[in-house]
Assembly symmetry: D3
Homo-oligomer: 210 residues x 6
Amino acid sequence: MIVGVPKEVKVHEARVGLVPESVRELTRRGHRVLVERGAGKEGGWDDAAYERTGAQLAASAQDVFAEADLIVKVKEPQPREIALLRPRQALFTYLHLAPDRAQTEGLLRSGAACIAYETVTDAAGGLPLLAPMSEIAGRMAVHVGAHLLEKSQGGCGALLSGVPGVPPAKVAILGAGVAGSNAARIAVGMGADVAILNPTRPRLAELDAQ
Amino acid sequence: MIVGVPKEVKVHEARVGLVPESVRELTRRGHRVLVERGAGKEGGWDDAAYERTGAQLAASAQDVFAEADLIVKVKEPQPREIALLRPRQALFTYLHLAPDRAQTEGLLRSGAACIAYETVTDAAGGLPLLAPMSEIAGRMAVHVGAHLLEKSQGGCGALLSGVPGVPPAKVAILGAGVAGSNAARIAVGMGADVAILNPTRPRLAELDAQ
Amino acid sequence: MIVGVPKEVKVHEARVGLVPESVRELTRRGHRVLVERGAGKEGGWDDAAYERTGAQLAASAQDVFAEADLIVKVKEPQPREIALLRPRQALFTYLHLAPDRAQTEGLLRSGAACIAYETVTDAAGGLPLLAPMSEIAGRMAVHVGAHLLEKSQGGCGALLSGVPGVPPAKVAILGAGVAGSNAARIAVGMGADVAILNPTRPRLAELDAQ
Amino acid sequence: MIVGVPKEVKVHEARVGLVPESVRELTRRGHRVLVERGAGKEGGWDDAAYERTGAQLAASAQDVFAEADLIVKVKEPQPREIALLRPRQALFTYLHLAPDRAQTEGLLRSGAACIAYETVTDAAGGLPLLAPMSEIAGRMAVHVGAHLLEKSQGGCGALLSGVPGVPPAKVAILGAGVAGSNAARIAVGMGADVAILNPTRPRLAELDAQ
Amino acid sequence: MIVGVPKEVKVHEARVGLVPESVRELTRRGHRVLVERGAGKEGGWDDAAYERTGAQLAASAQDVFAEADLIVKVKEPQPREIALLRPRQALFTYLHLAPDRAQTEGLLRSGAACIAYETVTDAAGGLPLLAPMSEIAGRMAVHVGAHLLEKSQGGCGALLSGVPGVPPAKVAILGAGVAGSNAARIAVGMGADVAILNPTRPRLAELDAQ
Amino acid sequence: MIVGVPKEVKVHEARVGLVPESVRELTRRGHRVLVERGAGKEGGWDDAAYERTGAQLAASAQDVFAEADLIVKVKEPQPREIALLRPRQALFTYLHLAPDRAQTEGLLRSGAACIAYETVTDAAGGLPLLAPMSEIAGRMAVHVGAHLLEKSQGGCGALLSGVPGVPPAKVAILGAGVAGSNAARIAVGMGADVAILNPTRPRLAELDAQ
């Protein structure tokens, strides 16, 4: 199979669909991997690193989409990428279609088979490709919130931990799923006064017992 | 005694020399407290709050410096404030003179008695007016650092805690004093891999035992 | 020296001035120890245990007070005990004279040298005979409070820990001394939402760092 | 449906079958809710609170049982309540029939459909209506035990935590289910020396890993 | 049924197939239990302890194997034990056949039904007879490793915890199963800098949340 | 000053009086440092490493003792080293003279000024050169003890942590000083049931509060 990895084009996105060590897993198994020049640069992998693992470099996204049977990306395809998709091609990436009718219709028109990472389910009912993103989001949320509470950011000037003599800030977390429980750990670790709201009790009891 | 509280004029400073409850401690003991209009506004205390605790409002910093025996501030006096100081007046505030020859010479010329908060020492040799600032600085430093590590801030994209499968970031803390040990607690709480460097061992042994 | 241990007579007091192993320390050093019959019974030590460590049993408090050079007790002497004290005799016990003018005057009239456990000070300025009582008082205070919060005791029905879905009870502790900090540990251990109020900051910073 | 909430009549019972916010859930969905006057008083909800959420007040338990299709209670029905039950009526409450033949026979004779909270099972095999009671029971058990260990309660005078120099009390917990594991957490938090006995190992390994 | 317990003969093995309290469970249910003289001696149980729980003592392994329907052991049978096995007899012990062709063939030739402890699976898919051995192995591994790091054992002289001023040793654990996660707990408890490698993420997330 | 570092000759001793980075501190300040060839080899520092920091290599201990004003060692001097000491020379090393009359007399006869590391006291009354050794000794003691409890070492076969279903081993620590409190931390971290015996209470209260 020909696997293609175009450079991400959505604003602020520094990740890449396949890192060199993932490329090696594919080339070892006999697949051909086509990586757009510079695709890994922002994430810290140069073109030579891809070549060392057996990838071929492509001059443009057009070249990647034209040849590859499977396109592996990070973010949902942007309009110029949707225009390159074609029937009998597969796209594997985060899609988040629910709030995005234009993308949904574009993908349907393309005739490509599009699989959203966030919907891949494992045998135990978990979401193995979504969970790591929720862990990162939940953990980052707390220091992002701490930053936004600073006076210079327009916040109220509260410090999450307080200091001796000043009570800690209150943090309310909506939902005790992967993102929420990871946020709770970091917020507790930073010394905040944390409350988690969740629609069902058993998950709260689980967190409470940790 | 007439105690004066001018509005802070250094850029980004939202604090105020005396909060209303401190004013009350003074007015109860028979002192007169003169507060510049709007002095507490950025910190969340309006003029009425000061009036309720017995303060008199002054229209300008000039009025405060002209009448007060003792000026209570937060930040070192700015040039326009130094110009208002006069002999037989006392100034009580953070000064940090060491790197600031111009301020030092200005204060000497003013003839005022200037006491730096950061040098006030208690019976046990502690620095009771500096320590709380060091606690805040040490604790804030960690989420400020977490923010600056973000890719969008020009950082390397490391998350302090890591996530399962990705090791935590390494945090090196220089000095195990008040700021350093408070920073260490927050960094450990956020899941980072923390090392503290300190020139003497006994303090490290103390932290290690906690 | 003749050391006397009368049975405690204050209501609800089950302790005794010297336990048998303390008696042994004294008899080994050549002192004579006179213990009132039944003095240790409520605490769990029978007369035979005292005899085995070299004590002599006395039939009554009168006998103990009449012969002993030093009276060792637990609680402040009750009026009938004060009446038995005499000049050139020493009394060693908790006194708590501040709120108890009648006792103070009685002891003065007795001519005995009375040393209050709660005022004995060690080289480091600590109160080694008061501290253990404060530890016990602080730790007991929390489960006593938990008991009194029960609906059947006239309380509001709050459970210190809450349960998942119900927030913990709030516990406010006045003072961060020995009793207060011990109470805080138990209350935190029981899952309560604990705040400690203390007039000075350094002690709060110490507790905060633990 | 007409849902009826009689005032609890079992001795020492201060709870009520539905709190006002639960009543609102029902009235919003078009059900009629009949609450006996004073039903929530001991739990802290007055009649007006019920009326605000759409309940109708009933003058007596007789009125509630006469009209309601479904009776929602807390404790098992007392004889005078069983006498009010009737065919084609449902009773939803804790029943604990196993040791209570008289109640069982009374309920059978009533012709009502009686559902015991403690037997309601969720999809995962859990007992969602029993678990919270077990959590409360397990957590309360520890401070109740601490209270009963006091000398003045006829106990041996042991303090769960001990103090420095006196070892902690030993607490043995029979069963590592919901009540037992909650009791264990509180007892450990209070500083006791805790052992849990359980007929199977895997649950012990789970608790051990927390 | 006649249950036989021979003395273990593999070098360094101090355990025994059934301890006296397990024998009692069997004799109470009407089984006959035959224990080789001295079988429990190294584990701390003398022959009299077995007799008190209803076991009969056998003079030799030959006697045990000749009479028993079921042989209960600890370690895989040694060649002289395999020679004693016979058709219509069951053997229950750890076998670990995978790397041991000679044993496998011996057992097949014997005609006995041989059940390996390490393959017994419970309803939840766990390995209840293997798990406790893995717990012990994982926990022991850490102090065994600490011992082997000593200079006098040919190690590099690293102390797992380090000391203040000297960083802790790094411990890498391969696999986050029962042995690995137990090893991790002890290594973390000893103050080492621990990394766990595991082929799948969800188990790492579980450990991370503890 | 000429500082001499002979190779340690006591059996099992792999340390060295000065590591290369300590040598650099001295050579930078203008001292001459004479290191016996191979002195650092067992500790991991070769002769070249010493030369790079400005040390001169000496062919034998005789050469070092003959020239140096100050001898820096680790262990107490052995008889052949004592024979090399001379008046107007200083020896700085651990001595532990109390149980070693022969060494004491030898040092007195040598006429050298001998300073024992273990008696060097800092301003706060601490023993800065003894404390790190006590930390190491206390921490090592626990895994050494765990090793000696193994059946194969003649121990009773107890595992410090126990496993779920088997209680942890009991560890009694004599003395709550530096060695004892470090041992306690590691033993608690390994899951043992730890008791510390100490002649005075305040230190126990300190440890208890950590």
